[in-house]
């Protein structure tokens, strides 16, 4: 018998992946669990273990291919059964990939159930609308899926769906409403590069966020002179523990503090339900610049972790993200995002909110600046202070400008006064 291995469901919202590497060749014996493929999804690189033990009969994909969930990738030969005598009456000729695709879903009791009952016209409609019949709640007799069921399922999916499905169900619709481009070659040499994986996912996410969220940005300065002194003092100690004490670590902690005080910044707007979903957990995403593009791993329960713990976890997380070893789970579930552009330079900027979150916090480059201080006697003095631009982009549907000023005040005060952070140092 041959078995075909199809691209499994890799998690929430992931429909396709690009084949990065193939670790097997035809004829190779593999054991269940051996890594056979490496694919890159919109969110991360994933190693795929073999679900079977057997011989690799056929590799149906090549590096660089875009495969969809359910596409056949590898056919396994499991030995016997192939050599049945030929003949016109031999009706069970093996056709692995197709057979597997049409294989009925085994029921819980181990007995196989038939395919989803639906007429050929309904099945065609489902294909056209990109609907998986297995997911459609049937209204016909004894579980028959009708054309109407498929249509309403497709309509509902469009309505309820999160990020990529909302306005951009697939690659092609990315082009909807996009004006035709001129032939750039007429003005000189060009190179066409593929628009794929992370780049494309970023584009989708940005279009969704930018077109759905009315963005407003608050800007202010944070005096991080003391904080920087504190950081320098403790960074070796943290390094010894395997962490990296960066400004982002303090940012995480300060953001968690501010989010607790103003929980609306830790919410999502559910338009379909006409509700605001306020999250009671504080999972903060950190934008990481990688060779392949922007990836946002999420640090969970920031409010419950110490500076030291966060330094270690964030460092590990950034390393794994840069080497594309981060799991998909670690990229999901964020409630708020921090993007720290400061390490590279830059001043004020307006980041785009990580939909469906409500706000994003950005740090610019801290510079020594002349700063006017008021002395005890009421006179002024100009002193050098390390000043960092801080920006907060928020969803004006959910919160207002005054809220953002209040949020920023808590945040900036926390950053200016590391005493409070100090308490949670270990």
């Amino acid at each position: 018998m041959s078995k075909s291995f199809t691209l499994p469901d890799l998690g929430e919202g992931i429909h396709e992946a690009e084949v990065l590497a193939i670790h097997v060749v035809e004829g190779r014996q593999v054991k269940e669990g051996d890594v056979i493929l490496e694919v890159e999804t919109d969110k991360a690189a994933v190693e795929i273990p073999s679900p079977y033990t057997g011989e690799v009969g056929q590799v149906l994909v090549k590096t660089g291919d875009l495969v969809k969930v359910g596409d056949s990738m590898i056919v396994f030969e499991n030995g016997a059964g192939e050599e049945a005598g030929p003949g016109p009456s031999d009706k069970q000729i093996e056709k692995p990939s197709r057979e597997e695709q049409q294989k009925p879903i085994p029921a819980a009791d181990g007995k196989e159930k038939g395919p989803v009952p639906a007429s050929p016209a309904t099945r065609r409609l489902a294909r056209e609308l990109g609907v998986d019949l297995h997911q459609v709640p049937p209204t016909g007799p004894e579980g028959l899926v009708t054309a109407e069921d498929v249509r309403s399922f497709a309509a509902k999916a469009k309505e309820v769906a999160t990020v990529p499905q909302v306005s951009l169900p697939g690659e092609t619709s990315m082009a909807i409403g996009t004006p035709e481009l001129p032939d750039f070659k007429q003005w000189g040499e060009v190179e066409r590069r593929p628009f794929r994986s992370i780049r494309r996912a970023t584009a989708r996410q940005m279009i969704t966020a930018w077109s759905q969220i009315p963005h407003v940005t608050s800007q202010d300065w944070a005096d991080i002179t003391k904080l920087e002194a504190f950081r320098k003092k403790h960074k070796d100690e943290i390094k010894a523990a395997g962490g990296r004490l960066t400004l982002t670590v303090f940012g995480l902690k300060a953001a968690a503090t501010a989010l607790k005080v103003y929980p609306m910044f830790n919410s999502s707007l559910d338009l379909a339900a006409q509700e605001i979903v306020v999250k009671k957990y504080f999972h903060i995403g950190v934008a990481v610049d990688t060779e392949d593009g922007l990836i946002v791993p999420v640090i969970r329960d920031v409010d419950r972790k110490s500076i030291k713990e966060l330094s270690i976890e964030l460092n590990d997380c950034v390393q794994r993200t840069r080497s594309r070893k981060i799991g998909l789970d670690a990229l999901q579930g964020g409630t708020f995002t921090i993007t720290n552009a400061g390490a590279m330079g830059g001043g004020f900027f307006t980041p785009i909110i990580n939909f469906p979150q409500v706000a994003i916090l950005g740090f610019g480059h801290g510079r020594m600046q002349p700063y006017v201080v008021t002395r005890d006697d009421g006179s002024y003095d100009i002193v050098p202070r390390l000043m960092m631009p801080v920006v907060l982009c928020f969803d004006h549907r959910v919160v207002d400008g005054a809220d953002s000023i209040r949020f920023m005040k808590v945040l900036i005060e926390t950053l200016q006064d590391p005493e409070e952070l100090l308490i949670s140092m270990t």
């Binding site: 041959s2 056929q58 149906l60 596409d71 056949s72 056919v75 192939e82 050599e83 005598g85 030929p86 003949g87 016109p88 009456s89 031999d90 009706k91 069970q92 000729i93 093996e94 056709k95 692995p96 990939s97 197709r98 695709q101 049409q102 009925p104 007995k111 196989e112 038939g114 395919p115 009952p117 639906a118 007429s119 050929p120 099945r123 065609r124 294909r127 056209e128 990109g130 016909g140 007799p141 004894e142 579980g143 028959l144 899926v145």
Partner: protein, 475 residues
């Protein structure tokens, strides 16, 4: 495009012009593609039209008439022994073929499908070399392989045109009506052609290595046919193999070895019907990324795609049930996928018919498959001895069976043995494809008296209210 160029280009190349190939070519042309179809035989139709379905069914129609004429003697009507004019019969058969053939040719032209006579061999994934053709090389964007299958020869005894050891093509050419004919292989080809030759007057003997005829077909459907064949064939030897096969000038010497049969016999002719193999061996597939299984069948997915992104395969060459209806649908699917449509081969009930007397026809899940795959089913059997219409035709040996899900009664398959099974099975196909319940079939009124009522009566068995069969619940 102009004929006579050494090298041409086309959008879609279809290799093979049988039912899979021309269905693909026609559909693709209808969808606006630039299509070229290549085949060594210049007119479309393939094995089905020239050496398969159509000629064999032309002959089987006449065989049935001959058997019916004999059968009605018991009903009080006597015909004289039929007089067969072999030349006129062949002329009739050829006329049937040529009228179909002419139709396909003009359909090709009307659709603007370019036909090239020749044999295509791949040079790479986008080029074929053409042998014995006016065009030497053809470049294409995409290709559909629809080269079909060919009869397997007895090991060491290749088929010779006009020889006494024949394949189905030779048998259908009907050089003569041999006094004695040995058929090697108890599959449908052997039994259908045995039925023809027996009707024409040959003494027909069948040998089969397996312990049953028509392996893969449900036993209860084969049983009435087996009884009938026992009466019209000179012998059916199961678990018997041919140990020697030698063609002489005036006959074929055959050594039979098997259970209860050890003999050396001479037959006037021998038909080798031990199966068919895919015609993929000399296509140059190694120059492409196309993959085949160990027997040469091209591996495809449900969109007819091979492992080569721009090459598709349909029909017998791609394996599965070797049937024209399946090939034709696959051809359409391939064309639609190539044209960018979200098409897929998702047929749940491929109907198959064996045109013996009685006929056997089935679609969807069979009882045997359900057992093999451990699928829980309920079998509803309606024997034709309860059908008034069957009795009026002297066809009461028939049987209609429906395979249903035991809980919902959803129809998964239908099997029929008996007269007109070829037409009766279609109601089953529709039922399976539509996801119909036994109740739907039972409540659909059928004309009376007809054989089609056996299907609604079988369905009534699920509800326990069959009019003519007492169910256990009622008894």
């Amino acid at each position: 495009m102009v004929m006579g160029e050494l090298e041409q280009q086309t959008g879609l190349l279809v290799i093979g012009n049988g039912p899979g190939g021309y269905a693909a070519a026609f559909r693709a042309a209808d969808l606006g593609l630039d299509v070229t179809m290549v085949d060594p035989f210049p007119k479309p139709g393939g094995v089905c039209l020239y050496t398969g379905c159509i000629p064999s069914k032309t002959l089987l129609f006449l065989s049935t008439l001959i058997y019916d004429a004999a059968r009605v003697g018991d009903m009080g009507v006597h015909f004289d022994k039929p007089r067969v004019d072999l030349e006129a019969l062949k002329t009739w058969k050829n006329k049937v073929i040529s009228s179909m053939s002419g139709g396909l040719l003009s359909l090709s032209k009307q659709r603007g499908v370019q036909l090239i006579k020749g044999r295509a061999v791949f040079e790479d994934s986008h080029t074929v070399r053409l042998e014995n053709a006016e065009v030497r090389r053809l470049r294409f964007k995409q290709a559909v392989i629809a080269t079909g299958s060919e009869p397997i020869a007895y090991p060491g005894v290749p088929f010779k045109t006009g020889g006494r050891i024949m394949n189905s093509t030779g048998a259908l050419a009907l050089a003569d009506v041999p006094q004695s004919l040995l058929i090697i292989g108890g599959g449908y080809v052997g039994l259908e052609l045995g039925t023809v030759y027996s009707a024409l007057g040959s003494r027909v003997t069948v040998v089969e290595m397996a312990d049953l005829l028509l392996p893969g077909v449900d036993r209860d459907l084969v049983e009435p046919l087996r009884k009938r064949l026992d009466s019209i064939f000179a012998g059916i030897h199961l678990k018997t193999k041919v140990a020697g096969l030698t063609e002489k000038e005036d006959g074929v010497d055959v050594i039979l070895e098997g259970e209860g049969e050890h003999s050396e016999q001479r037959f006037d002719r021998v038909l080798v019907a031990i199966g068919r193999k895919p015609s993929t061996g000399s296509l140059g597939l190694e120059k492409t990324q196309v993959k085949t299984d160990k027997r040469g069948f091209i591996l495809i997915d449900d969109q007819q795609r091979t492992a080569d992104p721009d090459i598709f395969a349909v029909g017998d060459a791609a394996g599965g049930m070797m049937l024209a209806n399946k090939a034709s649908r696959e051809g359409k699917v391939a064309a639609e996928v190539i044209a960018g449509m979200p098409s897929a081969f998702d047929v749940r009930a491929i109907p198959a018919t064996i045109y013996t007397d009685p006929q056997i026809s089935w679609c969807g899940l069979t009882e045997e498959q359900a057992r093999e795959k451990n699928i829980e089913v309920k079998i509803l059997r309606f024997p034709w001895k309860f059908s008034g219409r069957a009795h009026t035709m002297g066809a009461s040996e028939g049987l209609t069976k429906i395979v249903v899900d035991p809980k919902s009664g959803r129809i998964a398959g239908v099997g029929i043995v008996g007269r007109e099974a070829e037409g009766l099975v279609s109601e089953g196909s529709l039922a399976v494809e539509m996801g119909a319940l036994a109740e739907d079939l039972a409540l659909s009124l059928h004309p009376h008296p007809t054989l089609s009522e056996t299907e609604s009566e079988a369905a009534e068995l699920f509800l326990g209210n069959s009019t003519h069969v007492l169910s256990k619940k009622q008894a």
